[in-house]
């Protein structure tokens, strides 16, 4: 089967090109909403006093939740909420189908309610297998106050041609 996309030098030149930054908010309400969404009953995600008694600064974000991108109808996707922003890679990918291929999160600190994170994203890898193009983007989340990296998340999407 002919491949539907070619990883050219032009594509590879876009690896690491950083997007403009976007603010992700982590609030007590958003942490509780996410925890409810996954069916967790762990009080560390709901009870601020309990979380503090365990040494955390507030309730702890469940694993996989890195905050909610600040939303404005003019700048964010209405279905998924992600920001449509400047910078980053621009690829002419096949569009017959789109699947979620995988998620990986590396943590350098806990994420807790009250945190405000600043995220930038860049293209990390493009692989082609037949009519499928695997595109991996890496987001880097920094604490807005300290500038410290708290998490990196790699998201792989599968574009079908």
């Amino acid at each position: 089967m002919a491949e539907v996309f070619e990883v050219t030098a032009e594509v590879e030149a876009q690896y690491g090109v950083e997007s403009s930054p976007w603010v992700y908010e982590v609030t007590t309400t958003s942490v509780r909403m996410y925890a409810r969404g996954i069916g967790s009953t762990d009080p560390i995600h709901y009870d601020v006093d309990f979380a503090k008694s365990q040494g955390f600064r507030s309730i702890v974000a469940p694993l996989g939740y890195v905050g909610t991108p600040a939303f404005h109808p003019e700048t964010n996707d209405g279905t998924f909420g992600f920001p449509r922003r400047q910078g980053g890679a621009r690829l002419n990918l096949p569009t017959k189908g789109l699947l979620d291929g995988g998620t990986e999160t590396e943590y350098f600190d806990y994420i807790c309610a009250g945190d405000t994170l600043v995220e930038t994203s860049h293209l990390a890898e493009v692989r082609v297998r037949g009519n499928m193009v695997f595109v991996t983007n890496e987001s880097v989340f920094k604490d807005q106050a300290s500038g410290k990296v708290v998490a990196k998340q790699r998201l792989t999407s599968i574009h079908i041609g």
């Binding site: 996410y34 969404g37 996954i38 560390i44 365990q54 909610t68 279905t79 979620d100 995988g102």
Partner: protein
């Protein structure tokens, strides 16, 4: 709240306590609200794309299953441990109102850079025993010492 696991007590091959769930539409709507992913694939069984895929019911979010894997990893780490990394691949679809079992096993343990690291294989499994969301995790555990 799980009891704290200590590095000295962990053995290779040790299985993590599993979670069995059967996500229904209400659960997926709650997840849509919490995650911000309002793709109709997950709550509208008449969404045209489903028919095109030959499916007559809603698909469980991949990120929902990722979060379920996160639940058992977080519980294994305990409040005194620290999850360093965890990732999965979405290899198979799960439909709403079907059983999903979340499992994990210790594959290695080592001391490195002053940390007590434990490596895990983690996954979700359907009723046929197929691993629909396989992955790995690395957790730093406290020491009794």
């Amino acid at each position: 709240m799980a009891e704290q696991t200590y590095f000295e007590d962990v053995k290779e091959g040790q299985e993590l306590p599993e979670i069995k769930i059967k996500p229904d539409k209400q659960q997926l709507v709650k997840f849509a609200a919490g995650s911000g992913d309002f793709n109709p694939l997950h709550f509208d069984e008449k969404f045209p794309m489903l028919k095109g895929m030959g499916i007559e019911d809603n698909i469980v979010h991949g990120r929902f299953k990722y979060a379920q894997v996160g639940r058992i990893v977080f519980a294994f780490a305990g409040y005194k441990g620290r999850v360093k990394k965890f990732g999965v691949s979405y290899r198979g679809m799960d439909l709403i109102n079907t059983n999903v079992t979340v499992k994990g096993v210790v594959t290695a343990k080592r001391r490195e850079g002053g940390e007590n690291l434990v490596e895990l294989d983690v996954w979700t499994e359907n009723d046929e025993g197929k691993k629909t969301t396989p992955g790995t995790a690395v957790v730093a555990l406290p020491s009794k010492g």
